[in-house]
């Protein structure tokens, strides 16, 4: 095989003769007119059946009630099976029809396409480079640095309007006008504050230390989560509630007081062997309450970070870099568990400014 491309090395004849393509074998539908007509009818039948199933879907939609007859047809429900089956068959029959059409009736001649080099020819490339060079010379951008530098300055200054315009895409979550430390705003504060009662999650009831036995694990929230206004409506609802819960969720574990290794300065953070920690993993923020009572190891199911709840929740395994923040616990006048203060460090995963 020879070629005329100047970019490729010359070929001195082929060492092995090109055997060429095998003789083309035609399909029955190409050589037999009756087979061709039969295939045409087949394809049309598939498309026609698809129409039937589309209509049956509409019929089934109005005949069966959703959720009704849940015990029919293997417990899947008549409506579910009928809707899924008819729509699925309608789509499948279109697909089968098209494949049958392509395989039996569409053109069946074999084509050979040779690959060509993707680059432009040598002349074109030289001409383009010459044109670019001429443009640079004529504009004088190399000779007139004043013009060049002032243009760079003008384009760069266009960034300023963009910054001003797009600034309100989102205030930084810790900027002054968002953070409301009194109400647990921002990344560094939660709803916990001095005297805030620790209540059971979902139930919202306060907890006495004597309620809990050794080995009791409590998923708890600050009482403010369940606070009601004068009309009996929840003060926190919707997204603010979710944000507050996602930061303030804690787990309490009561263990043998002798088993606890207190962190420095945290000697009075527990009550009768009850420890409280943030429920939010310090790796990427999954809520964790997967605790092994016998080892008091708390495991995060997302990436297997493991924290030792008897030892300031330090990381004993996994990708988490920091211990879970500990909630300093105390008891109020009525004997219920309260927080001594907010967490002393931000909860959840690390972020840039946290350092």
């Amino acid at each position: 095989m020879t070629h005329n491309d100047p970019n490729l090395p010359a070929v001195e004849g082929d060492p092995i003769a090109d055997p060429g393509l095998p003789a083309h074998e035609w399909r029955p539908t190409d050589v037999d007119e009756r087979a061709e007509r039969r295939a045409e009818r087949q394809v049309a039948t598939f498309f026609g059946l698809s129409v039937v199933f589309a209509i049956l879907f509409v019929v089934a939609y109005f005949t069966f009630e959703v959720g009704e007859d849940a015990d029919t047809l293997g417990g899947f429900g008549a409506s579910t099976v009928a809707l899924g089956g008819t729509l699925g068959l309608a789509l499948l029959l279109i697909g089968i029809g098209i494949i049958q059409w392509a395989r039996k009736l569409m053109a069946d001649h074999e084509m050979v396409e040779y690959r060509h080099p993707a680059a432009s020819s040598e002349e074109d490339r030289e001409a383009t480079l010459a044109a670019l060079d001429a443009g640079l010379q004529e504009s004088g951008i190399g000779r007139r640095p004043l013009v060049r530098n002032s243009l760079l300055g003008a384009v760069g200054a266009l960034g300023l309007p963009a910054v001003v315009l797009l600034r309100d895409l989102g205030p930084l979550p810790w900027s002054d006008d968002v953070v409301d430390p009194e109400n647990g705003g921002g990344l560094e504060h939660t709803l916990w504050k001095q005297g805030e009662r620790v209540v059971r999650d979902v139930l919202g009831t306060p907890i006495r230390p004597s309620d809990l036995e050794i080995g009791d694990l409590v998923n708890a929230q600050p009482a403010a989560i369940f606070e009601l206004d004068e009309n009996g409506h929840h003060v926190l609802e919707g997204a603010p509630l979710q944000v507050a819960k996602s930061k303030a969720s804690v787990i309490l574990l009561r263990m043998e007081p002798d088993d606890i290794t207190h962190g420095r300065g945290r000697e009075n953070w527990t009550v009768d062997g009850i420890v409280g920690y943030s429920k939010i993993c310090t790796h990427v923020g999954c809520p964790i309450s997967l605790n092994e009572r016998t080892t008091h190891h708390l495991l995060c199911p997302c990436h297997q970070s493991t924290f030792d709840l008897a030892d300031s929740a330090r990381v004993v395994f996994g990708p988490a870099a920091r211990a879970l923040p500990q909630l300093p616990l105390a008891v109020d006048d009525e004997g219920f568990l309260i927080a001594q203060s907010d967490f002393t460090e931000p909860v959840g995963p690390s972020y840039w400014e946290r350092g």
Binding site: T80, R103, L203, S210, I288
Partner: protein, 267 residues
């Protein structure tokens, strides 16, 4: 000490094994009957007086102390077949119970006599039969919230169970007796945390059980549930079976093509 325990166990077994047949008339007799069963079946790991058998390695034991675990713990462990264990291990798998109800009651009475602990709950503690349909629906909804907050971490959102550290697992809650679910919360068997009545009140426990039972009764509207294990089993099914069969089908289509030996007749 171990040898002494074994000798005594064997000796006592020989002496007292026909005792199972006798009808326990009084609490004292029941406790005595339970003690005999305990000495035969449990004391090799839990000690002759249920004080536990410690290993030489500090903080570990062959069997923990049973003082104060209460009748509920015995009823749960023995009636679900977890105890007696086939071999000492940190995972006690559920199996067919070895003892009958009468024997379990006797052993529970004996262990309860060792120290104060949770009693076996009665049916009104966990049954929602006495409630109206509306109250029952409310109980199921509330129970679902409590379950999703406290239990899902280990037992999966569907109660299907899940993996735990070092090869352990949290068992599936499907088909578990209401009483045993209640007792498990009350006593915290094996590595499970305790959810005592001071932690999750009795009524809330009942709601959790109502929710779990409602899951079992719920028809699978979406077709095959694949064990309710979440994205792993579903993704595996979609990638291997779903996409795999599509690829196989495409290969089959491309590989099968009828060809004729005849030549085309040009019109």
């Amino acid at each position: 000490m171990l040898l002494l325990g074994l000798v005594m166990t064997g000796g006592l077994y020989a002496a007292f094994s026909p005792a199972t047949a006798q009808q326990a008339q009084t609490d004292a007799q029941l406790v005595e009957q339970g003690r005999e069963l305990f000495l035969v079946g449990c004391s090799s790991c839990h000690g002759l007086n249920g004080e536990g058998v410690a290993t030489e390695r500090e903080g570990y034991n062959i069997g923990p102390s049973l003082v104060g675990v209460g009748a509920a713990a015995v009823d749960f462990q023995v009636a679900t077949g977890r105890m007696p264990m086939a071999s000492p291990s940190h995972q006690a798998p559920r199996k067919d119970p070895v003892y009958n109800d009468e024997e379990i009651a006797a052993m529970a009475a004996f262990v309860a006599s060792l120290g104060p602990g949770p009693a076996i709950p009665s049916e009104e503690d966990y049954s929602v039969d006495g409630l109206s349909e509306e109250e029952r629906q409310e109980a199921i909804v509330r129970g679902g919230q409590i379950f999703l907050t406290n239990c899902t971490a280990c037992h999966n959102f569907n109660g299907s169970g899940g993996a735990m550290p070092r090869g352990g697992y949290a068992p599936s809650l499907k088909g578990v007796d209401e009483k045993h679910i209640y007792e498990a919360m009350l006593t915290g068997p094996q590595a499970m945390d305790v959810f005592s009545n001071g932690n999750i009140p009795p009524e809330a426990k009942r709601d959790v059980i109502a929710y779990l039972k409602s899951l079992e009764e719920e028809p699978e509207y979406g077709g095959f549930g694949l064990g309710g294990l979440g994205p792993v089993s579903e993704g595996l099914f979609a990638w291997l079976i779903g996409i795999g069969s599509l690829v196989g089908f495409a290969v089959w289509i491309a590989a099968h093509s009828t060809r004729s030996k005849k030549d085309k007749v040009e019109a």
